[in-house]
């Protein structure tokens, strides 16, 4: 990723931290991000379905799964948005779920844009 800050994208994912966790292995980082890209639609759909069905237990499980996956790839802002949905679902009432879902989806869209260059760029030292 270029060092030039891009609005709303720069903090979306901390690629340097992720790369450091993998001891500088750029190929594995790309593999992880590609795995996320493959998984994301299903995880996101599970959350949407749970909110639509007003099913707090299904929402708690789906949001927990997405939160962990996002945290693993250092997408901390999107992970925090998923965590807010998980916390709401744990409380049992899904008032405000739609607003939190919109927030999450916005973060996931930022993430999708931020991942595009990372999935192709060579980050090896």
């Amino acid at each position: 990723m270029s060092d030039e800050p891009r609005h709303g994208i720069h903090k979306t994912i901390d690629a340097e931290a992720l790369l450091a966790q993998l001891d500088g292995d750029a190929a594995t980082m790309r593999e992880l991000l590609a795995l996320y890209t493959g998984e994301a639609p299903e995880l996101q759909a599970a959350i949407r379905t749970a909110v639509g069905a007003n099913n707090s237990e299904a929402l708690r499980r789906a949001a927990h799964a997405l939160k962990g996956t996002l945290a693993s790839i250092t997408a901390t802002r999107a992970s925090a948005a998923a965590e807010r949905l998980e916390a709401l679902a744990r409380g049992g009432t899904l008032a405000h779920a739609a607003a939190l879902l919109a927030e999450l989806e916005q973060e996931l869209e930022h993430l999708r844009l931020a991942l595009e260059p990372l999935l192709t760029e060579d980050h090896s030292p």
């Binding site: 966790q21 993998l22 001891d23 594995t28 795995l35 998984e39 962990g68 945290a71 693993s72």
Partner: protein, 312 residues
């Protein structure tokens, strides 16, 4: 030591295999990649406790790293299952931030250690190496004890029932070392030993009658506690001798009470006596052990368990 390997006693190197279990593919791949990169270990993956057990059946790894919450068999159930079937394979748990209480519960259930998922790269490699090195010592100790073929142990106990469970657990370990029976046989021997030791303490040394127990536990234990402090009961001891070999184990439990006529015991095979507490203990002993004999005027019981045919 070569990277990614552990050294055996004969100097050969073996690649270390780690099984990573998590229902989320990105999370399990990250954990695996961190260890792969830092330690050079071989990683195998499973997406649930159930599929982890399938991997274990096929080719058990040296260690398991697992998530706690998964749909098909969670981390707790996996710890319990691995502990039963593969007690020498340590299980390390990955926990989400803030779930230390859950981690503590898992450690009590038999997990070897835990790592927080946050900052995984900082703690995971060192934890894996530490757990592997402890497990290695245990695995070698177990191999060494597998060479045990004969032992005789003598214990003298005061009349405190708190001493019985640790003695039983200690003696049960030798059944594993000698590969004398399976897990069910091990449990049954444990039950028989416990019944014999309780009988020697309460009925033999303290002379508390089973009849008292038909009225409930309270008067029974009240009298027992009182007698533990009074002569002549307080000076009496229980002697337990275990003679162990690869063919059979023989346990003798002797008390210093007045003894009894074993023929006066209610017939334990008579269903009417199953309801009676004293009869029940003896029925369990007779059922679980291959040979039971009384001697020294009823003061001593000797129980023999022979090697089960399927064990080797």
């Amino acid at each position: 030591m070569m990277r990614g390997t552990s050294t055996c006693g004969d100097g050969t190197h073996h690649t270390v295999r780690l099984l990573v279990v998590d229902d989320q593919v990105v999370e399990r791949r990250l954990a695996g990649a961190i260890v792969e990169r830092a330690l050079g270990w071989q990683i195998v993956y499973a997406d649930s406790g159930r599929s982890a057990l399938a991997v274990m059946e096929h080719e058990p790894p040296q260690l398991i790293l697992t998530d706690l919450f998964m749909p098909a068999m969670d981390g707790f159930e996996l710890v319990a299952a691995v502990r039963r079937r593969w007690p020498l394979v340590p299980v390390v748990l990955m926990t989400a931030f803030g779930s230390e209480e859950i981690a503590l519960k898992a450690l009590r259930a038999g997990a070897a250690s835990y790592v927080p998922k946050k900052n995984l790269a900082d703690v995971l490699p060192a934890t894996m190496e530490q757990v592997l090195s402890v497990a290695r010592v245990e695995q070698h100790e177990r191999r060494m004890l597998g060479g045990l073929h004969h032992a005789e142990l003598h214990f003298t106990l005061e009349n405190d029932r708190a001493l019985i469970p640790p003695l039983v657990a200690h003696l049960q370990q030798y059944l594993d070392y000698l590969s004398l029976c399976d897990a069910t046989g091990r449990t049954r021997v444990g039950v028989a030993l416990e019944e014999a030791l309780l009988n020697a303490m309460y009925h033999g040394n303290l002379e508390v009658s089973s009849d008292l127990r038909q009225q409930g536990d309270e008067p029974f234990y009240e009298l027992a506690n009182q007698r533990r402090r009074e002569p002549p009961y307080r000076d009496r001891q229980v002697r337990c001798v275990a003679r162990l070999s690869r063919d059979e184990v023989a346990y003798s439990v002797k008390d210093e009470g007045p003894g009894f006529d074993p023929n006066s015991l209610p017939d334990p095979t008579d269903p009417a006596n199953l309801e009676r507490i004293g009869g029940r203990g003896l029925l369990l002993v007779r059922t679980f052990m291959d040979q039971v004999e009384f001697a020294a005027g009823g003061q001593q019981i000797t129980m023999v368990k022979k090697r089960e045919p399927a064990s080797n």
